[in-house]
Assembly symmetry: C2
Homo-oligomer: 340 residues x 2
């Protein structure tokens, strides 16, 4: 008997929840019924079966949707502080790509804490995800070799494991930023570096290479390793730099938060040129619009998610890939101030 | 036999992954062994059991951790665009609270798309989460009554279901912003409203109440309903408002993105006063620092996550709660410009 439910022409197909609702039971009861009916009263089970028939469902369709943990359709994403727009953009892009393939995303957010990251990853693997996307810290990731699911690293390669990596061209970005400043005649260009992430190390290599090619020696007192990657740390370091007897005439900030701190540290001093790495919202609205080196971070997230889905589906069986996205200079004003 | 693994004094307790590694198998094999050993060769199973013993594990501890879908320790979080710092802050705070209780968070991000939201919620329920945190749209959410898991709404109540809600005091916030502008003598105060979310409707009520109490009639041409809640839409509407014969002397922007658009629309015109709803990063760094009405959004996320965990654990059995967080005025300059 298939009495169909009255529906408007544009109605969506019925769902498990429609079944539960029509039968007047919870989703758990529907699940137990389609998986054999253990622990459900005969009368209730009959009501659920009737609701399934009435709504025109294939029973095995319901069963498949409700069978726990059989075939995972979740991806795990482990990354840093979500209130950093860089990570939020990666998360948003991954969710979109995963969602288009019917995958959910389980999130682990850890802020540069190696033990926390390892714990988060292990818990996510225990939840039987189909694959892992990780923005790794500097610690050893060889423990992932026994994870049994594909892993794609994002933004930074990991130590101790050969896996896919999708990243931006940090060294080229560091070079183009520094070339730009040296090309305008700046000879004292400071670089402010968030702690020893892979990315900032590469940006520093670009900075050094630009100096070498321009024949300008690097004054090591202008290479500033920040104790942490916050705006506060960068603000303090900038004040100290500018209080030197021979301050820099230009500053290269190695991340978006560092750029914010450099601008705060400079305050009303609008003489030094500033170039930041990573674009940020309202960079163009600040008193002097901010010149940055930027990559398409949404594309970074999308590319990684697509690669992971292909690995999880087994449609991509190539050896580990290394995908590098370009970083380009966006001139807005702060990076075009001449040396004084 | 319990030969213990050599460990440094500060080593963490062993994990499932350590077992898999020591036994030289995948995590799935460890899972099958502790759950009965079906489909695993006797010799392999023995190796896994030896690894478990050697690492000093309780076998049922491993089993519990690896048993799929038995007792969920995931929460689902459904919210809007993660690149909106408002949503990113809620997500970050929820993850922290959930993580402290050993819960993971499965994320669904949908951008004001009722069908997308419903689909995301149903998929998340199918993944057997222990509870749902939802920033709901305006559509009917009565389908959640059969979800079988606790639901906490964040930022906006939902229609058709009586459930916990944690929100900010939108009406009081709208009133304090408008009071502030009227109190300085502004008589033509525009309000720019993102589309009909519950929150902006309440902010408009506060705006109207402030006018009523001050005995200032509202000019309905200054109540602007934007077609969408983007900076672009607010920028366009602001340009049109300022091109009027009798433009406003003050503007109240109902969300962070609307505030950005208002500032872009005003461009070099620094005469009108501006107050925004919701604080945002670098609001204090713009050419005129931006006055806002703000709530503690991280606290909004934390409060909702704590409530949901207590509901999921069964330790909170009160009737549905309505928790309202205060909104306070932060004066920075843009809201203190006098009428001209």
């Amino acid at each position: 008997m298939t009495e169909t439910f009255p529906r408007s022409p544009d109605a969506k197909p019925p769902t498990m929840i429609d079944v539960a609702r029509r039968a007047g039971v919870g989703l758990g009861t529907v699940s137990r019924v389609v998986n054999g009916g253990a622990g459900v009263r005969a009368e209730t089970a009959e009501r659920v079966r009737a609701a399934i028939d009435e709504l025109g469902f294939q029973r095995n369709e319901v069963a498949r949707a409700l069978r726990p943990g059989k075939k995972s359709s979740s991806l795990a994403l482990v990354l840093g502080d979500l209130t950093n727009p860089f990570f939020a953009t990666i998360a948003k892009a991954s969710l979109e790509v995963a969602g288009q393939s019917g995958f959910a995303v389980v999130l682990g957010s850890v802020d540069e804490d190696p033990e926390g990251e390892k714990r988060a990853i292990q818990e996510l693997i225990g939840r039987q995800v189909a694959g892992l996307m990780i923005v790794p810290d500097q610690s050893d990731h060889s423990f992932l070799m026994s994870a049994g699911v594909p892993v794609v690293f994002v933004d930074r390669p990991a130590h101790g494991i050969d896996a896919d990596i999708v990243m931006v061209d940090n060294e080229a970005g560091g070079k183009v930023a520094t070339d730009h400043l040296l090309g305008q005649g700046h000879r004292r260009v400071a670089i402010l570096l968030a702690p020893s992430y892979y990315t900032t190390g590469r940006r520093l290599r670009g900075y050094r290479r630009a100096h070498r090619e321009a024949g300008v020696p690097v004054d090591e007192s202008l290479v500033v390793q920040l104790p942490e990657g916050t705006a506060e740390a960068a603000e303090k370091a900038t004040s100290e730099l500018m209080d030197q007897a021979d301050p820099p005439t230009a500053l290269f900030a190695s991340t978006n938060f560092v750029t914010e701190g450099v601008l705060r540290g400079l305050g009303d001093n609008t003489r030094p040129a500033v170039v930041g790495f990573d674009d940020f919202r309202m960079a163009d609205m600040l008193p002097t619009p901010v010149t940055v080196v930027a990559s398409d971070i949404a594309d970074l997230g999308r590319t990684a998610a697509r690669l992971l889905l292909a690995r999880a589906a087994g449609t991509d069986t190539r050896p580990p890939q290394r995908i590098v996205l370009p970083a380009v200079l966006i001139q807005r004003g702060s990076g075009e101030r001449p040396p004084v």
